[in-house]
């Protein structure tokens, strides 16, 4: 299969899995006894909470590999993953505030998970700004890779350092039991899988775009040389 065909196939798989998970959310999952219909947003919220960590882990690993191997593929992977991770993190923050109002009565609480998600958003917004504001193209990749590593290291320790505040955020998985109805879990995990597929598709698409951009830049340079 050619690359373009693979991408198209991935697109249809991602779209249909998102549709299936939406169906499951609204028709299969039981309605919450206390929260009612509002609780449906939890599934999107849950999925968009996991994906940014995955995306930023990819940024971290790709950045480290880029510095060591100097292969441009890793640089593209880091940039694409950061951009999509930031987008999903935005979904997380928005669904979080919407979910927070009816459940906790306020739009925002300065609590470890919320604060960490917001700091993460700021970190990777900085990362993307750094990429767009760098002078030298090749040097920019090095700088971004270093920041991609520093940013990821600071995420877990931010979380740790904010933890002394008392948390109101529910913990779904404890070592002893899972605090969620099994049928809700099934829907939550399916939504997560759908989000992961969508992430994989967007990641591939973005990397393809970056590759084409690089080719165009190269062609432009060549044409500039001959003129």
């Amino acid at each position: 299969m050619k690359r373009g065909q693979k991408l198209t196939a991935l697109r249809y798989i991602a779209i249909s899995s998102i549709l299936i998970s939406l169906y499951m959310i609204f028709f299969l999952a039981p309605t919450d006894r206390y929260l009612g219909i509002v609780q449906k947003i939890f599934y999107i919220h849950f999925a968009s909470a996991i994906i940014p960590y995955l995306a930023f882990l990819i940024v971290f690993l790709a950045s480290a590999f880029y510095l060591v191997k100097k292969e441009i593929f890793f640089d593209r992977l880091a940039l694409a993953s950061a951009e999509i991770g930031l987008m999903v993190d935005t979904v997380l923050l928005v669904t979080g505030t919407i979910f927070s109002k009816p459940t906790w009565g306020v739009w925002w609480v300065w609590e470890p998970r919320l604060t960490t998600s917001l700091i993460m958003w700021l970190l990777y917004f900085g990362y993307l700004m750094l990429r767009s504001l760098s002078e030298d193209r090749l040097k920019a990749k090095n700088l971004a890779a270093v920041y991609g590593i520093v940013a990821f290291v600071s995420v877990p320790i931010s979380f740790m350092s904010i933890r002394w505040w008392r948390s109101v955020h529910p913990i779904l998985i404890t070592p002893n039991k899972i605090n969620l109805d099994p049928s809700m879990w099934l829907v939550a995990l399916s939504t997560l899988a759908a989000f992961a597929l969508l992430f994989a598709y967007l990641l591939n698409l973005k990397m393809e775009i970056l590759l084409l951009e690089e080719e165009i830049a190269e062609i432009k340079e060549e044409m500039g040389d001959t003129q």
Partner: protein, 222 residues
């Protein structure tokens, strides 16, 4: 080791000749405190708020110094000279961390009494060993991360605009641990609790130092 001392001496000499960074930092810290005073609107800052305000003053002021870290190297073209000289690049990094640490400490030595005068009403005693340790460990953290990110931002088109955006979200853990430790000192908490915060600060310093040592050479790589 001798080389490192020489590099630090060079930074200190440059600064002491002009005193540009230090005087700007002091005036800026004063301005920050005035803004905080206006924001409080005459209300006294109680213990928990007090340490937060103090560290916000330090954080904002430290940005000024950090932005100037590579000023001479970049503007006057000394960086090429330094890179060509037979100097280990980690020596260059270390010298900048030490000189920034010194500038930060000097600034704080002036700011703390003024801050207490303005905000504590004379009732808070910060001159304790615990707070001294907090300052040392937090200044180390600020310098370790700050110099690395200053080196990154000086290579961008936006230069000094970029540093706060990169620096503040990364420094959050150090800042929070420092605020917590200061809180315990101000409110008179238990020593064991204070040591837990200090251990956390030390742990952050070590982690960030490791990352910086491993990555700094790539920032200056041509």
């Amino acid at each position: 080791m001798k080389l490192l001392a020489l590099l630090i001496k060079k930074d200190l000499k440059l600064e002491l000749q002009t005193k540009e960074s230090l005087s700007a930092m002091l005036i800026f810290s004063l301005l920050t405190m005035v803004s905080l005073g206006l924001a409080l609107g005459g209300e006294p800052a109680n213990g928990a708020v007090l340490s937060g305000l103090l560290w916000i003053t330090f954080l904002f002021t430290s940005l000024l110094g950090l932005n100037r870290t590579f000023f001479y190297e970049k503007e006057e073209g000394c960086l090429e000279g330094l890179l060509l000289a037979p100097i280990d690049i980690t020596h260059l990094y270390l010298s900048k961390v030490v000189s920034n640490f010194i500038f930060l400490s000097l600034m704080e030595a002036v700011v703390i009494p003024v801050f207490l005068l303005f905000f504590s009403g004379g009732s808070v005693n910060l001159f304790t060993g615990g707070f001294f340790l907090t300052l040392i460990l937090a200044n180390l953290g600020l310098s370790i991360i700050g110099v690395l990110l200053a080196a990154i931002s000086m290579n961008t088109r936006a230069k000094d605009l970029m540093l706060p955006l990169l620096f503040i979200p990364v420094i959050v853990p150090v800042l929070l641990a420092a605020i917590k430790a200061t809180n315990i000192v101000v409110l008179g908490g238990e020593t064991a609790e204070l040591f837990a915060s200090l251990r956390l600060l030390l742990f952050y310093d070590i982690i960030f130092a490791l990352v910086a040592f491993l990555t700094f050479e790539y920032v200056l790589e041509e």
